[in-house]
């Protein structure tokens, strides 16, 4: 074989291989344009444009939560030159060590920061920024960036509105792809419930950077930039004046007031005391420690998150069920000798009032014994094989009022309360080893029953509507904001509409019978308002009884249904009834006519009675 030819062949092979490489390189660099675009995309930087957050209005168009301008202070460490740390610290109103520490940190991270700007301080108030702006030229590398923060013109509904704060890592992880470090989001209350509408959409501007990471020009002349879309405004069902009035009434007390418009289920006021001052919300970060260390837990929304025994107001439910089941007729009378006696020497006590009495009088005077008979008659009906079946039937009817389950309002973190079933007692006493007298305290809303103030307000609205309710909600439909259809659908109870007027008559008499007639809610009477109400005095294992009152007004075509619950307030008539009555008057008449009562309620300080952990 001719070996001399071989090196030529090898060199031809080499040439072919080199051409192959160059051919591919040619196709990459000259023929295919997409790599240039990819490279541009690689070397673009996105500047975020933050949208303004939606405004929250009350039902009358007053601004509950607005926005005001604040500034973030940014710094590009590579552009910083020697400067007077002390002067900058004074201008920005921070400790000089804070600035030194930050600069030290940037120095450590310099390779990852590169030529970029980092945020040194967040949401600096406008006044501080103005001071800084005047002397900015002395501090190259530092600049401000506009940011909008929350502003609260009304001191109303602190923990109802909720607060907005910077998202942390676990929040980012829970909402993949929606947030990035440095974004803000609603954390509680309406801010959290309506976060998706309120936040709007972030926009961005795209810039190209050169090989030294300096911004050179807008990418494609801004053709692919995206404007920020401002968040939608939210109109709430809250009446700002009523809410503020309720908060004033509840100051220095623990408890809540819930007011609902019965014909729509719209929540007019949702007071939880002690509440949180709106001035703290705007800068929640700074005030967080103070809020968290408060033993009365101001961030805790008692109106939907506290479960209490409802007390005597629950007699209304038992009365309605008795009427529906046919075991109670309004004219039926039962005796009461300071209570209901059962078994050998057992007694469920009652206060002094006339005996025997009929159903209307039993509501008016809140007789305990009467409802022991009623509940016993409901549970021990012949149609049931045993008391367990009776109790479960009773439970089903109670739950049709919304008790024992979440009302599914649009409000976050609602509790369900609880209504006992036969299983509850089977577990406690054993199957067949309990009877209607074992559970007798259910008749007066004590024992194993738990309900939130929202449940009680909903009960009141149900009675006001004569048998149905609308799911309580806090957001009204408005432009760009829809609410679910279920809020427009009446929820019917298992008690016929016909039965309700009989009970309402008793509630009217409890308030409007006149002095000396024995009506328990006499104090709630306002001339010409036809308030119908029912007091409750619920046992509190930690100290004095809780004061409970529900009422609606006026009797015909009701406009407002209220539940007031004051922890350790004593009799229902002591605090809850006057407070609810004042609320109703304020809402229906726009002003109150009983300055002495109002002053007494506002000045009352029950905090000393409240035991906390």
């Amino acid at each position: 074989m001719n070996r001399d030819g071989r090196h030529i062949r090898l060199l031809i092979g080499l040439g072919a291989a080199a051409l192959l490489l160059l051919g591919k390189i040619f196709s990459l660099q000259i023929l295919n344009g997409s790599y240039k675009e990819d490279a541009d995309r690689n070397s673009t930087i996105y500047e975020t444009i933050y949208p303004t957050r939606g405004v929250i209005y009350d039902r009358n168009g007053k601004i509950l939560v607005g926005n005001k301008v604040a500034y973030d202070i940014l710094v590009s460490p590579r552009e910083v030159q020697a400067f007077d740390t002390l002067a900058l610290a004074t201008v920005l109103d921070v400790d000089p060590d804070f600035i030194r520490g930050k600069l030290k940190e940037y120095r450590r991270r310099r390779s990852s920061i590169g030529f970029q700007a980092v945020t040194m301080m967040r949401t600096v108030p406008a006044e501080t920024y103005m001071r800084f702006d005047e002397v900015k030229y002395k501090f190259p590398g530092f600049r401000g960036q506009v940011r909008s923060i929350r502003d609260y013109p009304f001191n109303a509904g602190g923990n109802l509105l909720g607060y907005v704060s910077e998202v942390n890592q676990s929040y980012i992880d829970k909402h993949p792809g929606e947030y990035r470090s440095g974004d803000y989001a609603g954390m509680t209350g309406i801010e959290a419930a309506r976060e998706t509408e309120l936040r709007g959409e972030k926009g961005y501007r795209i810039f190209l950077r050169n090989s030294r990471n300096q911004i050179e020009q807008p990418y494609k002349d801004g053709a692919e930039d995206k404007e920020a879309v401002p968040g939608s405004d939210i109109v709430t069902t809250i009446d700002a004046d009523l809410q503020q009035f309720g908060q004033e009434l509840m100051q220095n007390k623990v408890g809540s007031i819930v007011a609902i418009e019965p014909s729509t289920g719209e929540i007019l006021a949702l007071v939880s005391a002690p509440g949180i001052d709106v001035s703290m919300l705007a800068d929640i970060g700074k005030n967080w420690n103070q809020i968290a260390s408060d033993p009365y837990k101001p961030m805790y929304n008692r109106a939907v998150q506290a479960s209490y025994p409802p007390g005597s107001v629950f007699k209304l439910v038992n009365g309605l069920i008795g009427l529906q089941e046919g075991v109670l007729r309004p004219e039926m009378t039962y005796p009461c000798h300071q209570g209901y006696h059962f078994g050998a020497g057992h007694k469920l006590g009652c206060h002094a009032h006339k005996s025997p009495l009929n159903m209307e009088e039993s509501i008016m005077m809140s007789c305990n014994a009467y409802y022991c008979y009623v509940l016993k008659n409901i549970l021990d009906q012949k149609k049931f094989d045993n008391v367990a079946e009776g109790l479960d039937h009773w439970r089903e009817m109670v739950m049709s009022f919304g008790f024992g389950r979440k009302l599914e309002s649009d409000f976050p973190a609602e509790l369900s309360g609880s209504i006992p079933s036969s299983k509850t007692y089977n577990r406690a006493y054993g199957r067949g080893r309990w009877n209607s007298t074992t559970v007798i305290s259910l008749s007066i809303g004590q024992g194993e029953i738990l309900a939130t103030p929202m449940h009680l307000a909903n009960l009141c609205a149900t009675i006001a509507n004569r048998g149905h309710y609308f799911i309580p909600h806090i957001v009204k439909a408005s432009e760009g904001v829809e609410i679910e259809d279920r809020f427009y659908e009446p929820q019917y109870t298992l008690v016929d509409t016909l039965q309700f007027p009989k009970v309402i008559k008793g509630m009217w008499r409890a308030v409007n019978s006149g002095p000396g007639m024995g009506g328990t809610a006499q104090i709630a009477h306002v001339d010409g308002m036809d308030i119908c109400g029912k007091t409750g005095t619920a046992q509190n294992p930690r100290g004095a009884d809780n004061s409970v009152f529900i009422c609606f007004a006026p009797m015909d075509n009701p406009k407002i249904a209220i539940a007031a619950y004051v922890e350790n307030g004593g009799f229902g008539a002591a605090y809850a009834a006057p407070i609810a009555s004042l609320m109703a008057e304020k809402y229906l008449r726009g002003e109150t006519s009983r300055p002495d009562l109002e002053k007494r309620m506002k000045d009352a300080d029950l905090m000393a009675r409240v035991k906390h952990d």
Binding site: L22, Q29, A39
Partner: protein, 506 residues
Amino acid sequence: MIENAPYKRQSIDWWLVGAYLLLVLIGWVNIYAATHTAEAGSLLDFNGRAGKQFVWILTALGLAGMILFLLPARLWEAVSIPLYGVVLGLLVLVIFVSSNIKGSHSWFSLGPISFQPAEISKISTSLLLSLWVSRQGFKMSRLKDFLLACLIIGLPMLIIIAESETGSALVYIGFIFVLYREGLSGWWLGLIGLIIVLFITTLTLGMFWAILIMIGVLVACNAYMQPSRFFKRLAICGGAVLVIALLPTVLSWLSGLVQAQIDLLDNRIWVPRADEPDHYFWSFILKIRPMHVLLGGAAVAFPLLMWWAYKKKDTFLGVSLAAFVVGVMLVFSTDYIFHNVLKDHQRSRIEVLLGMKEDLAGAGYNVNQSKIAIGSGGLFGKGYLQGTQTTFGFVPEQSTDFIFCTVGEEWGFLGCLLVIALYVFLIVRLVTDAERCRGHFARVYGYCVASCIFMHLFINVGMTIGLMPVIGIPLPLLSYGGSSLWAFTILIFIFLALYRDEKKYF
């Protein structure tokens, strides 16, 4: 060139030295370009990679001077056996004492300096191979001689594979060019080419296409070997048809569109489907697939051809038949090799290369970013130090294995052309110088050096532009790193010394 030159210096191939220096310089400035933003500093800042490379370059030049002017050229022939032994020992030793750097056990760490014996092994293997092949009476056609040559190449290759440095081991395949030059039948080169083609076609097009292509190639070769001119012409025509048939695949491979091809050549036309109707008597005809024809044809043709080969004493046909059997076995075991012998990262790199999967965040990330960097360079490039892709660190290993990206991005197509032309010049110069040598040792050694540089060049540049799977070997003389620069410097300058030594006597 002046023969019988009285001065040693004049017999040094300064063109070669010039190409060498130019490449080293290009490497140095590109290392600075690739790292200058991450580590601020000048070209000569010794904390930066460019500064360190400068030190490596100076020491490498010192080594080069020592080889050219201090050490006698005769030394290399003499030390080749002990050197080979020592390096083999180091290669084995490093497996046990090395620290694990990126999954491989191939680095010795001596304080701040670490070096890879696999780099020196290229030198020792080249020297011993040259010694053996240039020995008086060596005949490539003698089995013993041939096998020993294979052993010299294969031994370090296997140990390096054991070090998990498969990439470095692949370079040794290049020595087959040396053997070819020294008399190895060209069919062996063809065979290796065929194996690679079979592997790729099996993975992308499927087994039956691979077998069909193999039959085509073997038939064409046999026809070419026939004494009749008619058959020869037929074979050339057939081969041309085959090349044209395969051209779309090759072109789409070049432009990265293999997937479209695969979709066209759906494997289902070859294998029976389960959902064919079979309630008619004649329906079995519908079930006949090209696969059946292929198997039936092979079953009939194979014994006939064997008998023919035996009767006509046609060795080439016999070997072809054997090659066919081996090839079919290879095709059927490709799947096994691919999934069981190759490691996960190797498999995914090949899958990315062949367009079988697109994994831009994982296995395909390097190559994609590297292609973006080079592709964005255009004709003239973005200018020195103006590349955004390489300086922002999108391209990994940008100063070592992916240094070619910086060239591509900042210097554009013209820069790539220049660099590749320089390499081609270097290799051509080595080959022509080697051909001029009268001493066989120097000639074989020159081919060894050329082959090593070629393999590194083709694999490395091929990798950065998506023509080869990701194989982590440096670009000779350009990539950052002392081991590699020293090894190639020694490799080249030993040849220069041998070449000059040659000239002394003529």
